[in-house]
């Protein structure tokens, strides 16, 4: 799957959870840059991603999910 497609899907998921789409999907994007993406909504986003890409994250994967770029890479490694 192409990076851009992954990014688009993630964007939709995040928007659904935080209830807005006032953010740019750059590789450097972090949770702090998106209003409403806090520890409470974080799990919702993860669950959404797992469902959308039919993957399962492990606990240690969480540590690598600090920027959007890392998330996308992580998802790619799991899909392949």
């Amino acid at each position: 799957m192409e990076r851009t497609e992954i990014a688009e899907r993630i964007r939709t998921i995040i928007s659904l959870v935080v209830k807005h789409d006032n953010f740019e999907m750059t590789d450097e994007l972090t949770a702090n840059d998106v209003a409403g993406w806090d520890s409470l909504s974080h799990v919702g986003i993860i669950v959404g991603i797992e469902a959308a890409f039919n993957i399962k994250f492990k606990l240690k994967d969480l540590n690598g999910m600090n920027t959007m770029g890392n998330i996308i890479e992580l998802i790619r490694s799991k899909i392949e």
Partner: protein, 478 residues
């Protein structure tokens, strides 16, 4: 040494002088001096437990290095668990052993089984709740690859026992403090003056606000069986102000002293009483603890429970806050305190409302009616739960509540006008300064020097003249 004591003032003056003028030549001597100063500071409090502090630091330092070097997963995990066990074990034994024993005995006595187990009455090592969490975060971060262990034992030992925040926090993460220890600090005028200004404000909060509240709060709580309900409510309100002024004042001083020696340590409070919901409150209260808990407890828990949807999330929040409660002390009141705060999140989770981090009444003088309502509700929840926090037992807490929700709630009572005036002035200054690191931080930018110095002079005079009698910081017993 408490920050507010002649011995600490002398200690810090001497330390400051030697730190910048004698040992400031190179990084190594600077750090060794910080470590020496920190151990002297700790030994002054209680030299008996200095060996525990040093021992935990040494073991954790070595384990940190070996965890990173570990080639297989199993070995890595064993080393990690060893590290966590030694440091958590000490905390559990010193802080909670008697609590477990007493609860165990009480539980059996409900079934009329008497047990001949006595409490051990161990003394709580000062600062153990704080430095234990520093060490745990260090080991966990190494394990997850977030940071690399430091090869410099002086740096690590200083990180664990950093004296401005050793006794009552803030709880700095390794990623924040260790890099600062690895670079030579150079004196910065703005940083130092800002530090002094923050110390002054912390002193004001502690001596003028908190210490004046203590006597009134003690009077009401000690006498709660004989005062009208309106007094009980007033007492709960004043106690809430007291804890905030006391703890945030102490944090301000810790941050200020750190800045005077060139360190920027983490913020601990962000005007929590102006929060519009409980999530925002906990993002603003004892920030270093709640971010720690979020990262190492809540996030893994909520992740593990994620297949249970909202229920899983609620369960994670409840467990997280029960632990926050227990961290404060070995008493069922703290457990209940934590549980209740966890419950406050349930409506937020069920509604799925996501809090925008918009500042209350941003760039406006007064909040809107909606904001005011939200602030009041949140504050009321906090005030009510604080009754449990202060009570000596759950029974006493419930007794207090039942007496408070009675007709005499509307009875007239002594209103302590002088104290309420102090509180009103204090909250006004906090409100006006709410966008900043601490309420009077902005003085540097807006006022001319004469005005600033006049302000500082007045604050200092107020501290001496209307300051209350000195009392121990509440958070020292943690």
């Amino acid at each position: 040494m408490v920050f507010i004591s002649i011995s600490f003032v002398i200690f810090f003056l001497v330390f400051f002088f030697f730190y910048w003028f004698v040992f400031g030549r190179n990084l190594r001597s600077q750090n060794l001096f910080v470590l020496a100063g920190s151990y002297l500071f700790y030994a002054w409090w209680d030299w008996r437990f200095l060996s525990l502090l040093i021992g935990s630091s040494l073991l954790s330092f070595l384990l940190g290095i070996h965890i990173e070097k570990a080639t297989n997963e199993r070995r890595r995990r064993i080393l990690l668990y060893l590290g966590l066990l030694q440091v958590l074990g000490a905390l559990l034994i010193f802080k909670y052993l008697d609590f477990f024993i007493v609860s165990f005995v009480d539980a059996f006595s409900i079934f009329d089984i008497t047990t001949d187990i006595r409490t051990i009455n161990l003394i709580l090592p000062v600062g153990i709740s704080f430095y234990t969490f520093r060490i745990i975060s260090y080991l966990l971060d190494i394990n997850s690859g977030k940071i690399k262990p430091t090869a410099d034992w002086v740096v690590f030992f200083s990180y664990v026992s950093f004296f401005p925040s050793l006794i009552s926090g803030p709880i700095d993460r390794a990623q924040a403090l260790i890099p600062q220890l690895e670079k030579k600090r150079t004196f910065d005028y703005d940083q130092a003056t800002d530090g002094m200004r923050q110390i002054l404000w912390g002193l004001f909060k502690k001596i003028v606000v908190a210490d004046n509240c203590v006597n009134v709060v003690d009077e009401i709580f000690d006498n709660y069986l004989n005062v009208p309900a309106s007094s009980l409510l007033l007492g709960a309100f004043i106690y809430t102000i007291q804890v905030y002024a006391d703890f945030s004042g102490y944090s301000d001083m810790a941050i200020g002293f750190s800045r005077l020696i060139g360190f920027n340590i983490t913020r601990n409070f962000n005007f929590p009483f102006f929060s519009q919901n409980i999530a925002e409150y906990w993002r603003s209260w004892h920030i270093s603890l709640t971010t720690w808990m979020t990262e190492y407890i809540f996030t893994p828990l909520s992740f593990s429970f994620r297949s249970y949807g909202r229920t899983g999330l609620i369960l994670a929040i409840l467990l997280n806050f029960i632990l926050v409660g227990i961290w404060h002390g070995a008493n069922w009141t703290f457990v209940l305190f934590g549980l209740l705060h966890g419950c406050y999140f349930i409506p937020l989770i069920l509604r799925g409302t996501i809090n925008t981090s918009k500042m209350t009444a941003k760039s406006k003088l007064l909040p809107s009616l909606v904001e005011l309502r939200n602030i009041s509700v949140t504050f009321a929840l906090v005030v009510l739960t604080n009754i449990i926090f202060r009570a000596e037992s759950i029974f006493q807490a419930f007794s207090y509540f039942s007496r408070m929700f009675s007709p005499s709630l509307f009875a007239g009572t002594y209103t302590y006008p002088r104290l309420l005036l102090i509180i009103a002035l204090f909250l006004s200054v906090e409100w006006l300064g709410r966008g900043q690191q601490y309420a009077i931080a902005g003085l540097a930018l807006s006022w001319p020097r004469t005005a600033r110095w006049a302000f500082y002079t007045v604050v200092i005079m107020l501290i001496f003249v209307i300051g209350g009698k000195q009392h121990q910081f509440i958070y020292f017993q943690f």
